[in-house]
Symmetry: C2
Subunit: 342 residues, 2 copies
Amino acid sequence: MPASGPFAVVGATGAVGSEFLQILQESRVPLDGLRLFASPRSAGKAVNIGGRDVVVEPLHEGCFRGTQVVFFSAGKGISREWAPRAVRDGAWAIDNSSAFRMDAAVPLVIPEVNGAVLDACRAPCIVAVPNCSTIVALVAVTPLHRAARVRRMVVSTYQAVSGAGAAAMRELEQQAHAYAAGQPLDTSVFGRQCLFNCFSHNSAVGADGYNEEEAKLLHESRRIWNDPQLRVTATCVRVPVLRAHCESIALEFEQPLSESYARTLLADAPGVEIVDDRSGNRFPEPLAAAGRDPVLVGRIRADWSLDAGYGLQLFVAGDQIRIGAALTGWRIAERLAPVICG
Amino acid sequence: MPASGPFAVVGATGAVGSEFLQILQESRVPLDGLRLFASPRSAGKAVNIGGRDVVVEPLHEGCFRGTQVVFFSAGKGISREWAPRAVRDGAWAIDNSSAFRMDAAVPLVIPEVNGAVLDACRAPCIVAVPNCSTIVALVAVTPLHRAARVRRMVVSTYQAVSGAGAAAMRELEQQAHAYAAGQPLDTSVFGRQCLFNCFSHNSAVGADGYNEEEAKLLHESRRIWNDPQLRVTATCVRVPVLRAHCESIALEFEQPLSESYARTLLADAPGVEIVDDRSGNRFPEPLAAAGRDPVLVGRIRADWSLDAGYGLQLFVAGDQIRIGAALTGWRIAERLAPVICG
């Protein structure tokens, strides 16, 4: 068994796992003893980390011993089984799946929003990373919520296919190639053409007509803001974009909030970059957000369908693999560092 | 000068003009004497109509004499100048531009919604066709508005590039080809990459932060429903789709309206086709709406962020060249036929 260092990644060959490895390398922390885990199908593959090949292992009993932080991004089934084992092995489990997000005993954290809840964590535990759409929305909206309390939020998303994983990105690219060559399009990931199309999010639809992605936006936002009265409705839609989600967000406030003060708040907000050039018609776009850290926020305007001061609209874009998953996981680890390192 | 028949089309070589010619042919009305007009650049070209070549003419003084109905889709400058001349020449001018939509003397008509206002038109006049996004939304929402009065409507659009004309469609297709070939993408129409991207609608943004497309949704809906108190807010976004717009619509009602009664109303509504398969995850998509007449309506659900009965959400898709422009123009002509034909 390889000697363990501070970090392990479960789901190391997936879209989010790969991004987490990228961020680890950018962060310049020592990566000696980095352990990579993935499904038996990927086990044995070598991943190049800073010029050194790290062999991917299958998960096995006791595999997290000696590791300080395990980042999970291999689906909720794997997390449900292995994150508690990581904690038993003495590691912090930062979980990007939905397995524990609604577990009242597990902190659900966006460091820019509610990072302070981590200060209460003194011993290894599971920390849940929210869903990508929730992170992108709440990084942008929280500064406004703190100033004027969001009463209701109406969200429509424009979600990249990569939210469904690396295979979905490859399929969309393949569809462009096949279209150009006049060949049939492979539609195995979503069961339909993505290129030049939009479609309702691919998660299951409940009896109330909302799909799981939409339900996450409501329930996770309530937990993160600790506001069970919050009203959120969402329509989640896939668009033929490789990477980075956009969201059209209409906010209704309890207290009045002017557009200009909202701009001031957003200009100072951690993780936010304002892109709002009305005369040049330059606003947040997924291509501009892809591969970058900040959530781009624009189309900032008073909602003319509400009483003056009580509504604002935004259009935001954020890289859902990065800020919407891996980077938020990494920032949780950074925030925990004093605790972890004692 | 060619002998005139009942119909003329101004902007005959554009995306909407071509669709109108297609609909004319499908309608099996006699097309003898059909006159086609376009910019001097296109004048002299021949367009094949039912196996017969019709030569495109430039506009000139008196060119509409003897024609009964002129369909305008060549931009608001042309309409502003030539639609009144068509009326002076004794023709009905059905105008697809924005030139007269806010003119209180000009009826603004979606036949499925407020076709009855045409009954008051007894002599040749201008009739304005609403903007595509307004038509797609109001065909779907009007049956619900009649039952429960829409107080507020929050709309986010997913608009095909073809709303910006045939050149925009060609550019998006070219971008797919160039991407597959690893060549630079032509971005002359929108000044940015459309493929794998989304961006705020390309119309001008006003001092209030809303763009013209969004303003049209508000002001045209108020006129068509004859409800100056109506509240509409919208965020209009282009997506990399060739044809057919989607809209995410959150409705707030004055009177309670159940989801099941809304379904009954929509099932009977003219121009509406319900596509709402929750278990199969099949809902309105632009590829399914493109080239077809109905507005597809799905994701019908009670809005859980509002008091029970007072809110509904929908996701709709409609071919904006067809129902959003040419077909609506043609249906106006059909509705006027008894008046026109005496």
